[in-house]
Subunit: 89 residues, 4 copies
């Protein structure tokens, strides 16, 4: 009975290994899809650049559009106040 004694332990180890493998594979699948979308995005930016748009500014724009208008306004106002306080007009 060579492996007998450890069978219980081995079984749960195997089980844990399978669960872990499953989690990791799910993650990898999702990462793959994510990377694919990232490639698509780069393509769109590249096309935009080819049309004469400034990519960096476009990225800023996209970032700003994620904020709620109210939130954006609020941040901007406070920043303006602070800039005036510092004499940055």
């Amino acid at each position: 009975m060579p492996d007998g004694a450890k069978v219980g332990g081995k079984r749960s180890e195997t089980f844990a290994a399978e669960r872990l493998t499953s989690f990791v594979e799910r993650i990898e699948k999702l990462e793959e899809e994510r990377a694919s979308l990232g490639a698509d995005m780069r393509e769109v930016y590249s096309e935009a650049k080819g049309s004469g748009f400034d990519v960096k500014t476009m990225r800023q724009l996209v970032r700003l559009r994620k904020l709620e208008p109210a939130e954006r306004a609020e941040q901007t106002e406070l920043l303006d106040i602070y800039m005036q306080a510092l004499g940055m007009a």
Copy 2:
């Protein structure tokens, strides 16, 4: 004088604005999908954590699996050499 004088300029401005809008909307669509996948990944990690796995270690694991085995071995070896040089066993 309906639209005359400025029409030429306005037309190309309008055209550019439309193109930019199109690019930005395509980007935003892609970002949305990407964010959704990111949320899915967080869920998987969270579920794994609930199963007793260590998320940080899992992340390391996933990162390592992206490397070619040869590359991974090389990095590990070099690190070992450096650690020995520093007396970190």
Copy 3:
């Protein structure tokens, strides 16, 4: 009493502006020193690279040395276990 009402306001605005300026200047001073140290670090890494050392590995090394030995061992072990579970030996 036309301007009276605002005088207090102006005074505290000025006071606030001065405080803010003071904070910002202190921060900038500290950031400057920090940046200087960062430059020194880059120099050291660059010199090391010129001596044939691998910078990326050195960074790993430095990071590892920050951890307590026990902590480091623990992380390594757990990663090994996970790698074995995934058949990465």
Copy 4:
């Protein structure tokens, strides 16, 4: 010829180890100082917060002040154009 065969190799290994150790120690010294400045900065921000200032906005402010005014203006202008094109006023 006492230590003959391996001496050459060992000597250069030792030499390399010493160089590496030296580099790493220099880095660690610099990192330590850097960390100390980081702590000072957190303190200043914390104090500012206690005085009623918004830390996040202060960080933006400090970031903006690093840019040349001309550069800042340029970026802002282009962004405005794009925002108008997208109807973000």
